[in-house]
Symmetry: C2
Subunit: 282 residues, 2 copies
């Protein structure tokens, strides 16, 4: 059976997918701040470097899959921490693990969020700065928005990490090297994080947020989707965002996506069309 | 085990999912122009009405799932046929089957296409007309574009059917009634339709289209995703478009989606926020 790395393995969706993989007979190398094979703090560069290296050692350079479930929810006054863990905690580790995934023909799943499509007015310049690795700059932009900074930072971190994954997934280093990298975007899932939020001062706001299926997500269901995205049928999936959110994204954005390539993007489209490293080989 | 209706069951993805469901012990009621339990021509209103009724009779009013795989590829000079089968052939049948899906707590999967996000300049007015059921009007718009009419019609039919599904999926009649309706968007899949196209005059164009995984899709893989979308983990999915296209969508559109709710949509967002038929019930 395979060897899988799971960040955020100690609780919530990371714990659910860890349990599923172990039940299926796989080996899981868990990464978390406590109660994990690799104990690490992904909010520091040293912690990310050490976690990357420790997993590669334990996996002996072969990873059949990686699940990037470590992350923080919207947290007022913790903008720097949220942006760092949610974005750099995925980008840096996956970049370091890429050769081990290639060696095993592996697959990787990033936990995004439907906040990436259902949050209004997230500043685009913050997303751009995150993608450039400039967390300080992104947080400076976000803090201009006062009480909205927490929600904006969370949404921007999830947009940035999804965009990073979509950009990377289709390159020669990933899809072209037999690695399938994709994103799952849950809505509110019944995890310890949500339970805490439902007891906090924003509980009313959380309950007012529309979910057409009229239930919070089940961590076991999300784990089943992640396992599917780590399995053989994902060989034909690259750079996709699989939204499993009870319908909130479609409730707010049904007409915004899918959409045709617009006129202003035609030059880029033509350029991308001519890239000759992404054609079928017989 | 369950009873499932599959349109386009005689070939391609419809046949692959039919075989999978039968192998898993389910009963499939196939709908196709030939070699099917229900032989029907979905390009005529009488054919669609008759197919809807015949399946309901055979299923005794209980459907655990429906897979809408009947459809035509881009076909020059057949714009009316393509638009009718690809859009009305899904909308009319699913609308008729909805009560049977509700009776069984069923799930439905529409076969969209990554053409809905990777085709440039598809006329929005054609999509709007299709959504209003005005196939004649949509085709008139498309024919103005001469040689592009075939590609535009195919893409517009897939945008329209995906948008229709996303709009319907989150309503009280679907998600609110326990039915999970979602869309799968494959790229080029190795089906009889693609094999024919690869021997035709547009073979060069087809092979030039970027696919980062460097392979055409495997119908068995697509069938596995559809079966997943018909299974218990799909209870938390509504109105999603699951792209399984080897990365072409991400190759062209990585930065276009996900995207925050823009300023111009803020009024609609607020209105949708206040809809009180889509909140969690304890």
């Amino acid at each position: 059976m395979g060897t899988f790395a799971v960040t955020g393995s100690a609780s919530g969706m990371g714990a659910a997918v860890t349990a599923r993989l172990i039940a299926d007979g796989h080996r899981v190398i868990g990464v978390d701040r406590q109660t994990a094979d690799v104990v690490a703090d992904l909010s520091t560069e040293a912690g990310r470097t050490e976690a990357t290296r420790a997993v590669l050692d334990l996996a002996d350079g072969h990873l059949d899959g990686a699940v990037m479930a470590a992350g923080l929810g919207p947290t007022p006054r913790k903008e720097h921490l949220v942006a760092t863990v949610n974005f750099l905690g995925v980008r840096d580790l996956l970049t370091g693990w890429r050769p081990a995934l290639e060696a095993a023909g592996g697959k990787a799943v990033v936990i995004g969020s439907n906040s990436s499509t259902t949050t209004p007015l997230v500043p685009r310049s913050a997303v751009r700065r995150l993608l450039a690795g400039d967390v300080d700059g992104a947080v400076r932009v976000m803090r201009r928005f006062g009480p909205a900074a927490g929600a904006f930072t969370y949404a921007a971190s999830k947009i940035a990490v999804t965009r990073w994954a979509r950009r990377a997934a289709v390159t020669r280093a990933w899809a072209g090297s037999g690695i399938n990298l994709n994103v799952i975007a849950p809505g509110a899932v019944m995890t310890p994080m949500l339970r805490t939020q439902l007891q906090g001062q924003n509980a009313g706001q959380l309950r007012a947020f529309p979910i057409p299926t009229r239930r919070f997500g089940d961590p076991e269901n999300i784990a089943a989707w992640i396992v599917m995205m780590l399995g053989p049928a994902a060989a034909d999936m690259a750079g996709s965002m699989v939204v499993v959110d009870g319908g909130t994204d479609a409730h707010f954005r049904s007409d915004h996506w899918p959409a045709p390539v617009p006129l202003r993007s035609l030059a880029r489209y033509g350029f991308r069309f001519l890239r000759h490293d992404a054609h079928v080989v017989d």
